[in-house]
């Protein structure tokens, strides 16, 4: 696969003005290509590395066959192209409330042109200021499995928070599990988050993340290379993952089993020369098989969220200023509940060696089962312990 230096030759000039009129030939050609690519001839995107969108959009059959050395999709592309009207599509995009950022935008210069199949454009749901900051800012992808363990979920959230506190954009895929937790951790800490979707940027998927989608859409950036209204499909997600990797300066994988989408993101990031950070997991857990394998293969280990952010800033040489001082610790235990507090302290000590059942906590701490039950109920309420398995409590991350 090609590395970073693939951006070498540049056959046409990149225009940097954002206020490109919607009717410009490049805009229309890029929009047309984005639509046709989404409909099945993704191969045409490879031509963008050597030719301008206008050239590709207007190219005749002979040119295309010559440029592609006779690929089979050429005729299908010509057919789709003849049935696509960029002008109509432009008004559809406007109606959807999204902005189409075409090929040639400053966002492409470093990040997207290195891809084998660069997107012809991005459909963005964001305020112009937010998108500008997103393009200019430091960005980290935090990804992982949808079926995460409680450990993974809490670590994902803590990492989202830590990056937010240093003003780094947290980019993820809005999926259930780690993705959602990274987004929400970032937002809760007052940071900015971006979601790269495997469906149209105006489609809320998964539905359960409606609230999260709305918050990211209003404060951060939601983007996709798929035209508005496109429903999610399994084959879109690996492509989405390559975009996620390309738009980020580094990737953090929190929990991923073998053959996980998060691993695709990590490998695409490695192909692009990005740094990959990995959160270590327990060797007995299926959700840690993929991440631990990455560590074995030499990925950088995440020791804890804070040093992870330090490593990220050092590796990427990104200068950022924290736009927010840390969130104060909400835990302020009242005194005056002596027996219960004492049982709680003993229970925490009993859990320090690892998760245990209620009865086991009682045995180790030397308290009765019901004292342990009450103490764990209180500790869970205060967020100090979590249930990690049926009937089993463990200490929460931090």
């Amino acid at each position: 696969m090609s590395g970073l230096n693939a951006r070498g030759d540049r056959p046409h000039e990149v225009r940097r003005d954002r206020e490109r009129p919607a009717s410009s030939p490049t805009y229309e050609a890029a929009l047309g290509l984005a639509i046709v690519a989404a409909e099945g001839t993704r191969g045409v995107l490879s031509l963008l590395r050597r030719h301008s969108p206008e050239d590709v959009w207007r190219a005749g059959r002979r040119d295309l066959l010559e440029w592609t050395e006779g690929r089979s999709w050429v005729d299908r592309f010509l057919d789709l192209r003849s049935r696509t009207s960029p002008r109509e599509a432009a008004s559809a995009v406007a109606a959807s409330g999204l902005v189409f950022v075409p090929w040639g935008h400053v966002a492409y210069e470093a990040d997207l042109r290195a891809l084998d199949l660069p997107p012809a454009g991005l459909f963005v749901k964001a305020s112009p200021e937010a998108f500008e900051q997103f393009v200019a800012g430091a960005r980290v992808a935090v990804v992982g499995t949808r079926k995460a363990s409680p450990y993974g979920l809490s670590v994902g959230r803590a990492i989202g928070k830590a990056f937010a506190q240093r003003g780094v954009w947290v980019v993820s895929g809005l999926a259930l599990g780690i993705d959602g937790r990274a987004h929400s951790g970032c937002i809760e800490a007052g940071g900015r988050s971006a979601a790269v979707l495997g469906c149209g940027a105006d489609v809320v998927y998964p539905r359960r993340h409606r609230e999260l989608y709305d918050r990211i859409g209003s404060e951060g950036v939601i983007l996709s290379e798929l035209p508005p209204g496109v429903r999610p499909a399994p084959w879109f997600f690996p492509e989405r993952n390559r975009l996620l990797a390309a738009l980020s300066h580094a990737v953090v994988v929190v929990e991923a089993p073998q053959r996980s989408g998060a691993l695709i993101t990590a490998h695409r990031a490695l192909d692009l020369g990005r740094e990959v950070f990995v959160v270590p997991g327990r060797i007995s857990e299926r959700v840690s098989e993929g991440t631990n394998r990455l560590l074995y293969d030499g990925a950088t280990m995440c020791l804890d969220p804070v040093s992870l952010v330090e490593d990220f800033l050092r590796f990427t040489r990104k200068e950022t200023s924290p736009f927010l001082s840390g969130v104060s610790d909400p835990v302020s235990a009242d005194s005056g509940e002596n027996g219960l507090e004492q049982a709680g302290r003993l229970a925490v000590m009993a859990l320090s060696a690892g998760p245990r059942s209620v009865d086991a906590v009682a045995g180790v701490a030397g308290i009765t089962s019901r004292e342990a039950s009450a103490a764990l109920g209180l500790l869970e309420l205060r967020g100090q312990v979590v249930r990690v398995a049926p009937g089993t409590y463990g200490l929460s991350g931090r």
């Binding site: 409680p150 259930l176 979590v386 990690v388 049926p390 089993t392």
Partner: protein, 531 residues
């Protein structure tokens, strides 16, 4: 014409039926009118053979049997004996005057022997209310019938003895005396089998404690744990820690079981609280009752006992929703085109489920292959009116984990736990009777939606520390409105177990650990997000 009293079962109630017989010249045969069911119609043949075997052949004349009221459908073989007595009286074997104020029930064998029938307890109660002077019953059923106070019943072995009772006062007294003797010896022999004991289970103290709380407060309970963790074993032992059946409850239980044909009549009254565990493939009418004629379902069979639904989410939505009425009102109403029928169904619901459809979610060694959607749907079965009435949720850890728990000393057996449960219940009664003396108690009752927290808390007797803990749980969204009420009522039960009139923070904290851990994943609370 000769007439005798019989009783028809409608649900768990028996209604009086007058059985009349008339003999007149005509083509020989017995015709039966008055809406007899198939089994009642067939009584003709059993009566004819039974009478002949007893040496009283029916006259070769036209015999008409009428069952009144004519618009109540009569079912079952219990009409054999009354029909036989009426026919024999009409034929002159017994004087018609001797049948005055006499009731009878029982199924006839072809040789004249009498067999017990379903619902004898209900019949005995109806006979008492009907003012019957003498009830003739199969001897085997005497124990069940005599459980009803105020019934003069004579147990007979066969049709011959039944006729003797009516013909000869001396014989009647001898048979009554035989019955009393028989009951006395049976009582000595009867030993009380309480069923499986809590002490049979090693460890699982957390779950045992939950059983104790459920028994003390009458809370419904849900157990979540992987296959093989011991959920069924635990559930089976809940009846043994519930208070012993009192006289009224024993009558209620026996009535339902007898009508369903599951009660052994020679046992007299039921002594054990029922435990019913229908399979998850059970239909709505199997669980709630139904059929034609309607019979009690599992919900009614579990009356005053435990209804255990293993694999709770696997039950059809229809079945789960149908449990709403019994959980709210303690009874089921079966509506059919012929009218509606009310059956008792006050039970403690115990549900058991796996943490996920495959059972391996978060198992220390096994891998779960369920998708997030599957989990959602599985857990979704718990929501709704029925799930909302389950106060206690406990996790039952897999055996691999609990086997390594340090065990010191012996755990309490069922009798010890039951004593605590009974004292908690009596403490509660005392507390509530004090409370009802206060003027504000007229506000109680009704849906949870009307309970103002302050009023609820003052009725429950919440200490300051407990109140602030509850407030903290509310403000951190650990519990919502319903969860708050549930946590409060469970905390109240915990305080009752300690015989304390004020709920302490410990009670609240323990109640919080016994609540529904929520969907998707238990750490959502810690992560500060709901899904």
């Amino acid at each position: 014409m000769a007439a005798v009293r019989a009783y028809a079962l409608i649900g768990t109630e028996a209604v009086a039926v007058q059985v009349e017989a008339h003999v007149r010249p005509g083509l020989p045969g017995v015709s039966m009118v008055g809406l007899p069911g198939v089994a009642v119609r067939e009584a003709r043949e059993r009566v004819r053979s039974g009478a002949a075997s007893t040496g009283m052949p029916l006259p070769t004349q036209r015999i008409t049997v009428n069952l009144s009221p004519a618009d109540v459908r009569k079912e079952g073989p219990g009409f054999d004996l009354p029909v036989a007595l009426a026919v024999l009286a009409a034929s002159g074997y017994v004087s018609t005057g001797a049948l005055q104020g006499v009731g009878a029930m029982g199924e006839l064998a072809l040789d004249g022997l009498l067999r017990p029938i379903r619902g004898m307890l209900s019949v005995a109660e109806a006979a008492r209310d009907d003012g019957i002077i003498l009830l003739i019953v199969p001897l085997v059923g005497l124990a069940e019938v005599c459980a009803v106070d105020g019934v003069r019943a004579v147990g007979v072995r066969d049709l011959r003895e039944a006729v003797m009772v009516l013909r000869d006062a001396g014989k009647r007294e001898r048979l009554l005396e035989r019955g009393r003797r028989w009951l006395r010896t049976r009582k000595i022999e009867a030993f009380v089998d309480r069923g499986p004991d809590l002490a049979d289970i090693a460890g699982q103290r957390h779950a045992k404690r939950a059983l104790e709380v459920a028994a003390a407060g009458g809370h419904h309970l849900m157990m979540v744990g992987p296959p093989g963790a011991g959920k069924t074993m635990l559930a089976r032992r809940l009846p043994s820690v519930l208070p012993l059946l009192d006289a009224t409850e024993a009558l209620e239980v026996t009535r339902v079981w007898s009508v369903a044909g599951l009660h052994r009549p020679e046992d007299g009254l039921a002594t054990r609280r029922p435990f019913r565990a229908p399979h998850h493939s059970a239909s709505r009418s199997a669980v709630i009752g139904g059929g034609s004629p309607p019979r009690p379902g599992e919900a009614s069979l579990a009356h005053r006992g435990v209804l255990f639904l293993d694999e709770f989410p696997e039950f059809s939505r229809d079945v789960i929703e149908s449990l709403r009425q019994p959980l709210e009102e303690g009874l089921v109403v079966i509506s059919r085109k012929g009218g509606s029928l009310t059956l008792p169904a006050a039970f403690t619901l115990v549900g058991a489920m796996n943490p996920c459809p495959c059972g391996n979610l978060m198992h220390p060694e096994r891998a779960c292959r369920c998708t997030a959607d599957m989990l959602d749907r599985y857990r979704g079965r718990l929501s709704g009116a029925v799930g909302d009435r389950i106060d206690l949720f406990i996790d039952v850890p897999p055996l691999e984990l609990s086997a390594f728990d340090p065990v010191d000393g012996r755990d309490d057996d069922s009798a010890v736990v039951r004593a605590r449960v009974e004292s908690a219940r009596s403490f509660r009664l005392e507390r509530e009777s004090l409370l009802s003396a206060l003027p504000c108690s007229s506000e109680e009752g009704g849906g949870t939606g009307r309970s103002h927290p302050e009023r609820l808390e003052s009725r429950m007797g919440v200490s300051d520390g407990a109140r602030s803990l509850l407030r903290e749980a509310l403000s951190r969204h650990v519990v919502g409105g319903r969860g708050y009420v549930r946590a409060l009522t469970v905390a109240r039960t915990l305080a009752d177990l300690d015989a304390m009139s004020a709920i302490s923070p410990d009670h609240v904290a323990e109640a919080l650990s016994l609540r529904d851990p929520g969907c998707e994943c238990r750490s959502l609370v810690a992560a500060g997000l709901r899904c």
